[in-house]
Symmetry: C2
Subunit: 367 residues, 2 copies
């Protein structure tokens, strides 16, 4: 298992430069490093001095490999895997009529396939750390939010559907229909979800990894431009809403504003030197401690004893936060993100009796 | 109908600044303008001097309204519409068990809902021009690619499915099952697609608008940083692969490299002045002609007379381009994008006899 690092911040603040510096430094310290590029265009190749990159990892220095993700290539690879799954489960597969080389890219595929690629590299055991240089904005957080959000949709939609009149109407057709098209052995419809448990396990493993800073850690990057500073703050709160821990704020010395360190407490704020042409040594020396788990509040803390749920959501005002309860779930909206919390049994049946937002904490209490 | 403009380029090159300047200038010339913000964080609000923005258009000056898209809000609005559609088509709807305020955001939803919002603002007839300040990278192009790519998936998957053994097995169940759950009157399964033609019409209208520079036009933005310049070139070629026309390249005066104008021929390359604090007049004067349809090759030209298909794909090398033919369709892959071309009847049955790439043109000839 690896530690995965990624970087959030406004475009042009030096995220890719920091990712390369951190990758080089970690490799020099003897860690087996994979740097994963996932931004449009030749930027990462140019930063690495023109080394040609491809959709498969290439070793560019001792302990350091680099891959430039290509969604069209990942789509082909995963389509082949989907056809194998279909052949395993479906008696008369029809995916085979459609070729991986034809598949166009729809929105969302970049993120879903990138997360799957990170999962595979992590599971390979070949790397101690994986640095993901992605778009670094909400698009990246949507990707890391897939396990929790997709689990919610699976849980919520199947519950709503199985309890509906529509399901009752379809039921008589379902069993004979499934038996006629699928190879899956099942006693009754009820034990189907377990027979196909693979997907939900993968999502749960992903959710747990993302919630554990030893496994997945995020760093904020800014310049001394006021908009870049406030965008970093916004992304800091947005990262918590996905369950990610933020390790610190790194400041690229461009611009003239002051970074209000108090607005980023308790994060460490570190100034980066300017890179001198192809001499990375100054930056490599400055990025020490990047993999260390920071001493910061967890994004989410559930205390069954005091019957409270505490969310750490810096960077947002009270007006930007909404809370609602529906059955065993709490829904929190902050900025442009929504988090559905599945409460433990001891809290699931209880009514929310109070919710207080004193930045950066939202404290919810139960009767 | 409006003209929609959007901006592509590396982060930090001044895309939002250019969008604001173009919106202000157009409004001063008497056009009814909507500026649509779709980047994470408070950047657009700060650029506009701290005017609070929301998910609904606010008028900030004569002829000028601004909206900051929020996916969580668009998701709620579109979920309400989906429930109405479900109630119209499905005898026992079950979506009503799931509330819009609960819906989490999965990757792809930002782009699909943003495109739908642009479509609605365009169809409202309230705006002469709409400026979309989005992520400005492949994510934005994936959104504008939805009509063509989604149409392909609908066409290809339904053809493969309807011709499969799986469909033959399901057929006996399908008709009674559909009659028991849906309100749609249909004589036989064959006339269902027409009964539900709405979606394919919307996609085709979208595809045609995106292919027409009077309706949708893109501008590239760079600084004088080598990586920003090459990223602009990459996005220029990528835009063609989505059928978008690029109007020109705008250069923000940061950095010291030279813009190789020859590498961007035949685009006009224009230098932007630096904004002096809150004085926008210099920039407003510099952005004249932004809405003009440029004299550049179309992304795609099909000549049935000479039996050739010509694609304009600047910014890519021969090694980065793949071509394959399958039945009535051509598939072209360039960079990290794939385009499936549905050939007119006169070419659909013919074999490709030659394909020549002389940058920036790919010329395909048929027997």
């Amino acid at each position: 298992m690896s530690q995965i690092l990624t970087f959030l911040g406004k475009g042009g603040t030096g995220r890719s430069t920091l990712a390369v510096a951190a990758a080089r430094a970690a490799a020099q310290q003897g860690r087996r490093v994979l740097l994963v590029g996932h931004q449009a265009g030749p930027g990462l190749e140019m930063l690495l001095g023109g080394i040609p990159l491809s959709g498969d990892p290439v070793t560019i220095a001792a302990n350091l490999s680099v891959v430039q993700l290509r969604t069209t290539q990942l789509l082909e690879q995963n389509w082949t895997a989907a056809k194998e799954l279909e052949a395993q489960y479906v008696r008369t597969p029809f995916f085979r009529e459609i070729y991986g080389q034809e598949l166009g890219v729809l929105p969302g595929m970049d993120q879903a396939l990138a997360l799957e690629a990170l999962r595979r590299y992590d599971a390979s055991g070949q790397y101690d750390c994986i640095l993901y240089d992605g778009p670094g904005d909400l698009t990246t957080l949507r990707a890391f939010g897939i396990p929790e959000v997709a689990s919610w949709y699976w849980r919520r939609a199947s519950k709503a559907f199985l309890g509906s009149d529509l399901a009752k109407t379809l039921r008589p057709f379902a069993e004979p229909l499934l038996r006629s098209v699928s190879n899956v052995e099942f006693a009754s419809l009820e034990d189907l979800p377990d027979r196909m448990g693979g997907m939900t396990n993968i999502l749960e493993q992903g959710r747990q990894a993302i919630a554990d800073p030893r496994r997945v850690l995020v760093h904020l990057v800014t310049t001394l431009d006021p908009i870049a500073i406030q965008t970093a703050r916004y992304l800091w709160g947005s990262a918590q809403m996905v369950g990610l821990t933020v390790g610190g704020l790194w400041v690229t010395p461009i611009g003239s504003a002051e970074v209000p360190a108090a607005e980023f407490a308790p994060l460490t704020v570190r100034a980066l030197p300017t890179r001198q042409g192809s001499d990375w040594s100054g930056l490599e020396a400055a990025v020490g401690g990047m993999f260390t788990v920071p001493d910061v509040p967890p994004p989410l803390a559930i205390d069954e004893g005091s019957r409270t749920v505490k969310l750490f959501i810096p960077g947002f005002t009270k007006a930007q936060i909404e809370l609602s309860q529906s059955g065993p779930e709490l829904t929190i909206t902050a900025g442009d993100q929504r988090r559905n919390l599945f409460l433990p049994p001891s809290l699931a049946g209880r009514q929310v009796t109070g919710a207080k937002f004193q930045e950066p904490f939202l404290l919810i209490s139960f009767g």
